[in-house]
Amino acid sequence: MNATSAHARFGAALVAPGLGILTLFLFVPLALIIGLSVLTYSPTKIWLPVLTAVNYQKFFHPYYVGVMWTTIKIGLLTTAMCAILGFPVAYFLARAPARWLGVWLFLLVTPLMVSSVIRIFGWLVLLGRRGLVNATLEAAGLGGVDLLHNVPAVVIGLTELLLPFMVLPLMAAIETIPRSVEEAARNLGANSLQLFWRVLLPLSLPGLVSGSLLVYTVSISALVTPALMGGRKVRMLGNLVYDEVLTSMNWPFAASIAVVLLIVTAAVMLGYLRTMRGLARRSGQA
């Protein structure tokens, strides 16, 4: 037995537990779901062991395709909002004096410690029919509007929830940009906007990419936020799955929606990664 093989065996021993958990609790259920999605629905037995493509055909009904597009749209809008709102925060944190950083980081992640249901009820208090905003509008004689149950409401809820997932990787990326590089750009005549577009943004691209992937994947599979803030009007694929599993008891169809969601997520991620890699190569980071 030589050293290399001992080394390899040690490595395998370290990898095994994680890989085992992944296999047992992710890949096996995933395989089961994919299998379930091509089986026939039965109102009495939930599923029959007969192969069919009906579940996927059903998905191509305009209603379900519409929900898919809404889901993708909400995912992309949330990602964009998190990036736009998160960059200044990330920059501020990356450049904050070390003794204050702990306080700021704590404030940033505090929302994650609150249950998302409670957080969303906070939004309901603000945006509800009898909520703070509407009450103010009515008092001003402007009449009330339904501020909930639309795409912006869901995007607002998800953005608040997912902002830290964008800020943390962005902050790590910005921290690696030496301050002197910023000062050099200024010294060469760059104003704040030029500094951002030509230096800060290209150099923080890796952080932006990982932050976007996190926010997009989490938001596209959202369930509680669209259920509470979107109501019956704004539904995402997650809500469909939930209804099919618990209300209609049509598990094979629910499984096919889950598979579509997986494919949509993966497709958008791959496209995004490819674009970003192209951008990074052009700017010499790859």
Partner: protein, 370 residues
Amino acid sequence: MGDLEVRALVKRYSDSAIVGPVSFTVADGEFLSLLGPSGCGKTTTLRCIAGFETPSSGDVLIDSRSIAGRPPHRRDVGLVFQNYALFPHLTVGENVSFGLRLRRRPASEITRRVHDALSLVDLAGLEARYPRQLSGGQQQRVALARCLALEPSLLLLDEPLSNLDLKLRLQMRTELKKLQRRLGKTTVYVTHDQGEALALSDRIVVMSRGHVEQIGTPREIYESPRTRFVADFIGASNLLAGAVVSAGAAGVIVRAGALELRSTDRTPAGATTVTVLIRPERIRLAATPPPGADVNRLPVRVADVVYLGEDLQVLLDLDGGPTLTASLKATLAEKDWAAGTALTACIAPDDVRLLPVAVDAPVASEAVTP
């Protein structure tokens, strides 16, 4: 066309640390160094000129016009950073053309000026490389070219050579001087390396603990330091505490321990106690006392001889007095002086300098040799 005036510049920090007041002028085309140990305020002064620090009071003027109120990107001042601060995501060509593209110059002009700037620093042809593909010295040149491409009225250099190894540093020092002469660019150079400051500068501003100690040509700074700090910081020195015995037309007699020395220097105004400075290379050693009355002759004993290649450092014990260090060319010295050899140290009265005794605590006692 590019003269700089720094007028009573003061920068206060919250923790009661103060830099300044600092005042100096740099004539058009002049090479001025800010020299001092770390924390002396030289970088703060430079950053105030570049606009990255806002002075608490005082003014910065280029061609007699105040630039103190302008943001850094509107100052027409080129700054080369200690760590080069190149843009890692841009090629050498894009780095050098960065400022020109911001100013929306026509493409043909950009190409020409990038090529010219890179030719100046001997890097023409490397436009397509990325900074990480270059050596430290090459990166340093790109940083310089990036500034020069904009033809700023003033060039600021913040310890630009300190990240290079010794040999490269000496080579870059020569090239920098040559380039600055050729372009006639007004330059302010920040360094803690006295050798660099002496070799490069037309004039040097020596700073310590936030204030200016002395401003003068390299020769003035070395030959006639005005404070104990300057004498100690620049070059090697023997510094002795002395008392003025008499002052007359023939010079000043000072007593340092059991020694009496004659000096042609002037006593600092009204002082009865002084710091006596004798540069090690101005001490001549002889086995037998040479004739001639005009020289201080001190009987000494060799304590140790340190061979430094080019030079020989001889540590001398004086009878009942302090120790002295003498420095001789190794080729001239008799190399077989054993410890305990009795010699005569000869010091011309011109080489005995009298400095005011430092008012504040003597920090200067640590680093004597460079």
